[in-house]
Amino acid sequence: MSYKPDQNDWMAYLYDEMEAAEKEKMEHYLLSNPEARKELEQYQQLRSMMGTVKDKEVIAPPIVVGESRQRFIWNSPYLKTVASIAASLLIIMLVGKVTGTQVSLSGNEFRISFGTSEVPEVKETSRPAEVTPVLTSQQVQEMINQSLNENNVAMQASWKETQQHLDASIRSNLASNSGKIDKLVREASTASQDQIRQFVSSMQAENTQMVKSYFKLSATEQKEYIEDLLVDFAKYLQQQRQDDLQIVQTRLSAIEENTDVFKQETEQILSSIINTVGAPAATETKY
């Protein structure tokens, strides 16, 4: 028997994934080879031991995959850090602006200050410090006193001057202002008299016009009304007359008819009387 299975064949046979022809060969080989049978048995033994490892029970956690897969540029962590740094710098700058922080570096001096700086004062104090080594303290004192006196004098002079100036300006202002105000008041009063006059006259004119037009209007209306009234009255009288005439006519015609009837009746009566009167005579004659 030339067939000898290699490791691949072994595995295929062990897991029963061998083609029929190969499988037959393998079984043949096993039958004729007790050592191979033993090896196979060992593998099967191992597999049955491995079968003791059971699956662990587990509950699947909910897995939700949203649609938000695409990452926008502003969502990238890099941009976020850059933006946050920029924002914090901006805040620092704003705070500096609001508190008036000033940082300066001049010579050996590094200064951080809040609010407006008062550099001139510092300069004044720094200058004497440079000079002091040459002068004694008394001299300095004197100089200071002198300068103070000078300062005081100058200050007083300037004070007085400014006071005078102020007084003068206030006075002149007052004068000019009162003059102006008087003028304004006067103007206002004169202007108002004229205006009142004008206003009154215009009012009067308006009033007269209104009254006139009112009278005119009412006169025409009255006229019309009276005319209408007269016409109506005339019409009424005419009607009355006609009615009366008609009545008189009918009465007259009635009287006429009556007289006619009366006439006829009297005629008839007369004729009958004549007849009755004549007939006996006739008959008498006959006799």
Partner: protein, 209 residues
Amino acid sequence: MAETLVDIAMMHSDTLVTRAKQGDQNAQGKLVQLWYKRIYNFSYKFFQDHDLAMEASQKTFISMCRSLPGLQDNGRFKSWLYKIAVNYCREEIRKNKGNRSLSFDVVWNREAEDSPGWESTGQRYANPEKQYQQQELSDILQRALMELSDEQREVVIMKEYEGLKFREIAEVLNISENTVKSRLYYGLDGLKKILEKRNITKDSIGYEL
């Protein structure tokens, strides 16, 4: 909770995969439910660590849901899924190389403290001793598995416990079927030797099985 026949049928259902591919969230959820136990157990045997296994499984399924539309052949879903799982397992192993911290569950095994092993399982054996021995054997085997190289362990787990065909394992690992078989061969051989070294052979436990 063992898989029912219906579940197994569903696991290989083309329509479910197709629907999941079209973005049906219910179908995706169902796929996760059906396959989670398999992938978790694969990862668990690979790491012997619950937390790492959960991590890898969750990553696997998140990745599955995201890249399902790219799956060309529905028939290859199983090997495709295991491929993702294997990649995440390898990644986790790489990350945890040199990280010697122990899981809290290992340091303080609450389950072992509170109750004997047989009480925590659903199945009750008439013979607690046999149950205990099986548990012990299982632990020994799992530890032996960890002694194999990653490559061999992957193949042994996929073949022996996950029941993949050689062709499918070859697809998952992107290697030839023959390489799979030879890795399995060396893996099993290694296991055999490890067990022999600990005097666990047919003779010592055979009669108990």
